[in-house]
Subunit: 253 residues, 2 copies
Amino acid sequence: MIQSVERAALILRALGAGVPRLGVTEISERVGLAKPTVHGLLRTLERHELVVQDAETGKYALGPAVLQLGNAYLDGSELRARSLLWADSLAQRANESVWVATLSGSRVIVLHHVFRPDDMMQILEVGAAIPWHACALGHAIAAYHPRIEELFEEPLVALTGQTRTEREQLEEALTAVRRTGMAVEDQEAALGDAGIAAPVFTRGGVVAGAIGVVGPADRLLGVRRNDLLLAVRESARALSRDLGAPRVTSAYG
Amino acid sequence: MIQSVERAALILRALGAGVPRLGVTEISERVGLAKPTVHGLLRTLERHELVVQDAETGKYALGPAVLQLGNAYLDGSELRARSLLWADSLAQRANESVWVATLSGSRVIVLHHVFRPDDMMQILEVGAAIPWHACALGHAIAAYHPRIEELFEEPLVALTGQTRTEREQLEEALTAVRRTGMAVEDQEAALGDAGIAAPVFTRGGVVAGAIGVVGPADRLLGVRRNDLLLAVRESARALSRDLGAPRVTSAYG
DNA sequence: ATCATCTTTCGATTATGCCGAACACAGTTC
DNA sequence: GAACTGTGTTCGGCATAATCGAAAGATGAT
């Protein structure tokens, strides 16, 4: 609504997508604005260190203030705060990595990540943004999203050969999620990795995010599959209850 | 310069400081604007999920998009990327937690955190914002900051009984840092914890951040103190070299 | 049921941000 | 070394676009 803020947000988004450093000209092309306009916006954002300008090249990048804000968001996130305990216990029970995520636009944002108890050399994925259609967490959320249409507005890119990118396939998958209350993904986001997730609801019964396990496909989808499904479902239920969700009924048939 | 963007940034900052959820009225008081103005800005920020409104209370909080941006900032940070290896090797050598940080406003932002090799149950501090005057990392950066005055504009709060908050004390400390090239802090940020840090420079010899170890005061400042000082200094030198800093000369006497 | 407090809408006034054109500076090419 | 293409940046007038007072909904408390 407020034009210049709208545009500033577009610039931030452009800087956050892919190429980390962009010049004024490049940005003005991407957001479709005149160079002086972009320049003025950048200078304002720079004041607050939301962007920084490289002294050498003159190009702009995101600034440290956005990291600070991101951290503040995590600190204030009720879903994250409430998930800490349940995620830990799920990680113990499943002996797998646990992710808690929420939806931002058409991407799934990882809010909390508990490493698999055994091995410790893993990359922390908090803050990572994954296309919703390529992961179990995304499917779990999307199935209960009030405005699904918006999720199909962005192009559905394939991350691996197994990623489902056809709308029909995805609609089918979402229907399955609604029926079982669970989402399962097999190497759609990364080769070798699978995911099992369930939606998490909050007050009013609206979906707030999802919780699930991530790990090697053969380990997740083999003989332990049913155990893991159960463990994830129970964690999601418990977490939803913590968040004040009404008793789940719709998730059953 | 662009008024509405400036104001939007103020709102984001207000939402990121302390209380995670604020109403329109509270925000309008804090930033000194009319309620409808704030409301318009919030609605615009909400579109991009930079803020979200709680359906129940109507209050506003930071949104998931800022976390995504923060993550993108980390991904694009040259200081962080280049520090990964050196931080790891420093953690091994010192057998302590290692932090890499940069300055944002008057706060030190942790960009990278390597856990102490031994114990693993630690909290990840990436994104944490610490007042510059209360930690070794902050002193190390501030000593070479081109516009130190700005750092004294915000009030210097005491985090522990040991925090130096008088300008004279801090100036003294900074002089010492400039003489030795190293900063040492003893329980000024958290009781029981100490820090040893050294500045990291980039092209043109400007300070880009700092690297250092953090841990129990008795372990850091006891008999191993000199070893740790040396280890930190060498890591900072190596990292600076990676970043293209000219050969360090000023750090000596 | 009334009140108090909150968020939100509306609309006119005018301050504000926008963009075309021009500038300064760098690195290339002839 | 001069001309050229590519930057990021400055300037200023015009018209849009943002601002704020007042008032209307919405919500929960007394």
